[in-house]
Assembly symmetry: C2
Homo-oligomer: 221 residues x 2
């Protein structure tokens, strides 16, 4: 049995969940309060963060290494194209979201507004929240510009890049921080990915103290 130690709104966990679900790999989700640095969890993962995936007898950390492993051991349906140039573009876009978008948007909105409260680490820093709200605009514009030229974010087929992006945006959508009216291309793209069976578990997430807005689960948002 595959088991994922996760946190519901973590974009890195969501990316792994989407990959597993798209490949129809059943997983048992175990919610982990990783910031409490429980001894049992630290033994599983010295990096003290989620996701940690128990699969094939291993305890695996680092979401990008995990997704490559899932792809190599379960290549169908494919989330990475065949050609080296196309694969580069997928990985570049995954890094764009997990590194740049994470730093400029996710950490400044989601972590300030939700994680700090859940972890009892004080109040949101309003300068960060303002910067995140400003930054997400140009990221949505960048995505819209890309989606003007391609069907999916890294090419003509859906890939890990789309899951990385959707993992961040869906977590931000849970707290109503995505303006879906800003760019039609982005809205159309998200509607396509949101309606996939792989997305169901993500849409069922609930964080105590933070009820999702009605549009969060609505496929016609």
């Amino acid at each position: 049995m595959i088991r994922l130690f996760h946190s519901p709104l973590s974009p890195f966990c969501r990316k792994v969940r989407l990959s597993l679900a798209e490949k129809k790999l059943e997983v048992e989700l175990v919610e982990e309060r990783y910031w409490e640095k429980d001894g049992e969890f630290l033994r599983r993962n010295p990096a003290a963060k989620v996701p940690v995936l128990k699969m094939d007898g291993m305890m695996m950390a680092e979401s990008s290494a995990i997704c490559e492993y899932i792809e190599e051991t379960h290549p169908t349906p494919s989330l990475l194209p065949k050609g080296a140039v196309e694969r580069f573009e997928v990985r570049r876009m995954v890094s764009w979201f997990d590194d740049k978008f994470h730093h400029e948007v996710t950490s400044k909105l989601l972590y300030e507004r939700v994680n700090k409260k859940v972890m009892a680490q004080g109040y949101p820093d309003s300068a960060n929240v303002k910067a995140g709200a400003r930054n997400i605009k140009y990221h949505l514009d960048y995505m819209g510009w890309i989606l003007d030229q391609r069907r999916w974010l890294a090419g003509d087929a859906m890939s890990l890049a789309d899951f990385a992006a959707a993992a961040h945006l869906s977590a931000l959508d849970y707290i109503s921080d995505v303006d879906w009216n800003r760019n039609d291309n982005v809205k159309t793209w998200y509607a396509k990915i949101k309606s996939r069976p792989a997305f169901r578990s993500i849409l069922a997430d609930q964080v105590p103290g933070f009820p999702p807005p009605a549009h969060y689960t609505d496929l016609d948002f």
Copy 2:
């Protein structure tokens, strides 16, 4: 001709340089003052950071995507093993250094002490420097523990994981921030990797205002 837009002490650039050199791919290095956000550079790379690699007619950003591309297009000598489990371990360790070590050590020592001055962004934050000096100890211990069980960081063959680690440590060694006497395994490992022909360009780096210590280039340090 392959061209790399880089910054000499950037660990992400050094990782790419080591990969190219190990595969005997000649590269022209172009030093980039990326923090000045020159219009020409921003056109090459909207993420406004280094490394940017010009290769096969593309302008490529994101060091991990770049290294995977180099590996796929020039598989010999190999920097990624064959098996999925072994490949996972290499990628996990690369993320360990580029994410965790970078956050806990490199950004707190190198960026505070060198980048801030070079970028004219003020003085080092002493709390960060102290934290970095404390954190590097347990990272060296972790590496020592791993190297007690394996010849190289991710297994019995040298891999991208060793280059990622050596990229960070060599940049920190340039400012004398690595205590090589802390762990014999780590010192032996670094002596092996430092003596490879691929390392020569790294050892020849010079940053104005920051002369390297004598031991930096010494293979018998």
